[in-house]
Symmetry: C2
Subunit: 327 residues, 2 copies
C-alpha cells in the first residue's frame, strides 16, 4: 500500500510538497503538481483518511444515530439532515444503536470519530447521551427531552398536535372520543395524550376510558387494542390513535369485524407516514414537519461548530392532513 512518502519519492519531491500538490494548494507549480499526481496514479496511491483526520483533529463528518438502519424509516427527516449536511460541505454517516453500549452508534458517539451527532434512537440511553456530550462535540436530540449542557433539542409540538387532532374530531360533532396510545415511557405519546386531554377539557367533554399505553406504537399493538375496544362492546364515535402505525392496525381490526370507517366510526392518526395515504380509507392524520426537523437539527450542529450561541430547545409545529377516515 503506497503512502504519501512513496509518492513523494517517486515524484522526486518532499513529502510536504506532495501533500500540498494533492490537496490543491496554490503554492505548488503546475509542473510539480502534475508530476506528483502522475506518481500517485502510477502507484495507485490512496490517502489514508484516518491519518489525515488525526492530524487535523477534525473529521468533517456528522453522524446520524438511528435505532435501526433497517427502519422504521424516517425518510423525510433523514432527507433534511442529508441536504443540509451536504450543503455545508460535510459528510454524513448513519449508524445504528442496536446493541446498546456495544453498538456502532455508541462507539461513534464516544470516540470522537465525528464532529457532531444527531440522535434519533429511542434505544440509546439518556446516560450515554449525556456522557458523550462535551464542549466541542455538539449533540442534537430529536426524540426526547434531555436537560444537559451541550445537548440540544429539536422537537415537534406533539402536545399541540394532539390538541388539533382532538379539536378536529370535536368540531366534526363527536363527543365520545377515545385515545389509543403508545408506550408509557414515550415522551411523544405523553404529549399527544396531554393535547387530547386539553382539547376535551376545553369543551367540557370527559375522556373515554383510558386506553393509553396499550398500543405500543406498532401496527400490531393498534390492532390488538382495537380488538379489545370492540370486544368491550361500547364503541366510541371516534378514535385518535397515537400514531399512524397503530391506526392502520386499527383499520385492519375494524375490517375484520365489518365495521366501516368512517361511516361507523371515525379514525385519526398521527405522523402522516407514507402508508397512511394508501390504506383504505386513506387516513386523516397529523403531519409532522419532519424534513424541517432534520434540517434544523444539522443546522444547529453547524452553528455550534461555528461557535455561535443557540437555544437549547426548538419546537416545530404540526398540521392536520384531512383524508377519508373521519366522517
Amino acid at each position: 500500500m503506497a503512502t504519501i512518502k512513496d509518492v513523494a519519492k517517486l515524484a522526486g519531491v518532499a513529502v510536504s510538497t506532495a501533500s500540498y500538490a494533492l490537496n490543491n494548494s496554490t503554492r505548488i507549480s503546475a509542473a510539480t503538481k502534475q508530476r506528483v499526481e502522475e506518481a500517485a496514479r502510477t502507484l495507485n496511491y490512496k490517502k489514508n483518511g484516518i491519518a489525515s483526520d488525526l492530524k487535523r483533529t477534525r473529521t468533517n463528518t456528522i453522524a446520524l444515530i438511528l435505532s435501526d438502519l433497517s427502519g422504521p424509516y424516517y425518510s423525510e427527516l433523514i432527507k433534511g439532515v442529508q441536504d443540509v449536511t451536504t450543503a455545508n460541505g460535510y459528510d454524513l454517516i448513519a449508524c445504528s444503536s442496536i446493541g446498546g453500549p456495544q453498538s456502532t452508534a455508541v462507539k461513534f458517539l464516544r470516540e470522537k470519530r465525528v464532529d457532531g451527532a444527531i440522535i434519533l434512537a429511542n434505544n440509546i440511553s439518556d446516560q450515554i447521551t449525556i456522557e458523550s456530550a462535551q464542549e466541542g462535540f455538539p449533540l442534537v436530540v430529536l426524540d426526547r427531552d434531555i436537560k444537559n449542557k451541550n445537548v440540544y433539542h429539536v422537537e415537534v409540538d406533539n402536545e399541540h398536535g394532539g390538541y388539533i387532532a382532538t379539536e378536529y374530531l370535536i368540531h366534526k360533532g363527536f363527543r365520545n372520543i377515545a385515545y389509543i396510545g403508545g408506550p408509557k415511557d414515550s415522551n411523544d405519546n405523553k404529549k399527544r395524550f396531554r393535547g387530547y386531554l386539553n382539547a376535551l377539557k376545553e369543551h367540557n367533554i370527559s375522556a373515554y376510558s383510558n386506553l393509553n399505553s396499550i398500543g405500543n406504537f406498532t401496527r400490531e399493538g393498534g390492532y390488538k387494542a382495537t380488538k379489545l375496544l370492540i370486544a368491550r362492546g361500547e364503541l366510541p364515535e371516534a378514535i385518535f390513535y397515537g400514531n399512524d402505525e397503530m391506526a392502520i392496525g386499527g383499520l385492519q381490526a375494524f375490517k375484520d369485524h365489518q365495521i366501516t370507517i368512517p361511516e361507523d366510526i371515525s379514525v385519526i392518526g398521527f405522523d402522516d407516514i407514507q402508508l397512511s395515504e394508501y390504506v383504505s380509507p386513506a387516513l386523516t392524520t397529523i403531519k409532522q414537519p419532519k424534513y424541517e426537523a432534520g434540517a434544523l437539527a444539522v443546522d444547529l450542529i453547524f452553528q455550534i461548530i461555528e461557535g455561535k450561541q443557540i437555544n437549547e430547545k426548538y419546537t416545530l409545529s404540526t398540521e392536520l392532513v384531512e383524508r377519508n377516515s373521519v366522517k
Copy 2:
C-alpha cells in the same frame, strides 16, 4: 479534552500502562487497573478512536454504500447486512453516494476509512468502484456486474424472475403482455426484460410494442408510462412492470381512468416492496431474497478478510408472490 497521557499522569503510571489497563490486558495488576480507570473517569477521558485505528491499521467497521440515505429503502437487505456484521463483532456505517465523486461514499471507499464495503448504489460509477478495490479492501457489489479483481458480486436472478413473472401471466391465459421497464442503463432492468422475452419466445408469443426504459423505476415513471399506454388506446391484457414502484404508479393511472385491476387488465410487479401488500388491489409480484443477499454480501467480506478464497459471483433465486392484481 483529556488524552491518555493525562490519565497516565493522574494515575501516576506510564502511558503504556494506562493503555494496557484501559484495554483489559492481563499484564496489569488489579490495583493499577483500578487507579487508571478512576483517573479516566475523573478526567472524563474518551479515547480517540481515530488515533487508535491509525495505530492498529484497521477500523473494525464495514461501510454500506447506499444511493440515498433517505430511501428507497432496502429494509430487508440492510437487515441482513446489519445482522451478519454485528454477529461478527464489526461495526456498520451507512453512507450515501449522492454527489458522485464528492460524496461521503466515495470518501469512505477511497480513503481506507473502513475495512470493507458493500455497494448498493446505482449512482456510483463502475470506475470508482474499480479504482477503490484493492488487495486487502474487499468490495461486494449488489446491483451490477463488474468484472474486476477484488470486486465480488451478489445478485438475485433477475432474468429468471422476469421469466417466471411472464410465464405466470402466460399460464393465466394472457397472450398480449406488455413490459414497462426501468432505466436503460440498469442492469436489473435489462435482465428482467430478457427474462420476459425468453418466456414469450418459448411460447411463440411476440412482444408487445416496446415500453422498456420508459418508467425509470419510479412511481411517477410508472404512472406516466401507463398514461401513455392508455392514451394509445390499445391496452394489452396484462402488464409486467419492471418493479413494484412503477406498478403502483400504474395502478394509480388506471384508477384515474376507471380501468379496474385485475378485471380489465392484469398487473404484476417485481421486488415485493412493503407497500405492494397494501395497495389496492394487492400487487402480485416477484419476491427477491433480499435479506439473504445482504447477509451473504457481508459474509463474503468476512471470508475475504480472513483470507479465504471465494467465487467472484453468487446468484440467489426469486419467487412468485400471488396477490390480487392478476385475474
